[in-house]
Amino acid sequence: MLPLGLLTAAQGQPMLVELKSGETLNGHLVSCDTWMNLTMKEVVQTSAEGDKFWRLAECYVKGNNIKYLRVPEEVIDKAKDQQQGNRQGYGNRGDRGGSRGDRGDRGRGRGRGGGRGRGRGS
């Protein structure tokens, strides 16, 4: 699964983000997007030297500033399960598609009926 897919699956999990500046943000991932922009909550920000600390209730990280993310190992298993679940979902929809074909035939019948109805109106 793609890296951004893994990140999306990691929503709600705690993680460490190191920025290009060397600062680190430890907190829970709220959401992310295709540009790797993140919103996190309950964040502890540490300076690059490791001497200063800030506590932030919420923060927004612009994706281009990220160096790397450290994620708990369980996330990859959870992400793979999610992916399996999605694939099974598509399979079910395929079955329903078959029955949709039957309804289509009935629809065509209805159309013919509607035409007759319109004729009566005029």
Partner: protein, 99 residues
Amino acid sequence: MSFLSKYVDKKVCVITSDSRTLVGTLASCDQMTNLVLTQTFERIIRPPDDPEPTTIIPLGLYLVRGDNVVVVAEVDEQLDDEIDWVQVRGAVIGGVKHS
């Protein structure tokens, strides 16, 4: 055209723009060279005159942003296992910014 995808599920050694050496299994990659590494270790190889020993830090699951990737090398696992990395000494890798 060269593809990183042929290294997926193989053990790789990644050098990042901040001169760190990471070793792990490449779980996935994308067109931006964002990488997902599992069972990642950072190998800090120090010069011979450094009093500190060469250290290996286990890091777990790592997502590296593509901007920071310099080299991704396939590791020969058999050869790698034969080396006791803690004994290895070497020069520090230079930076990417040149004036």
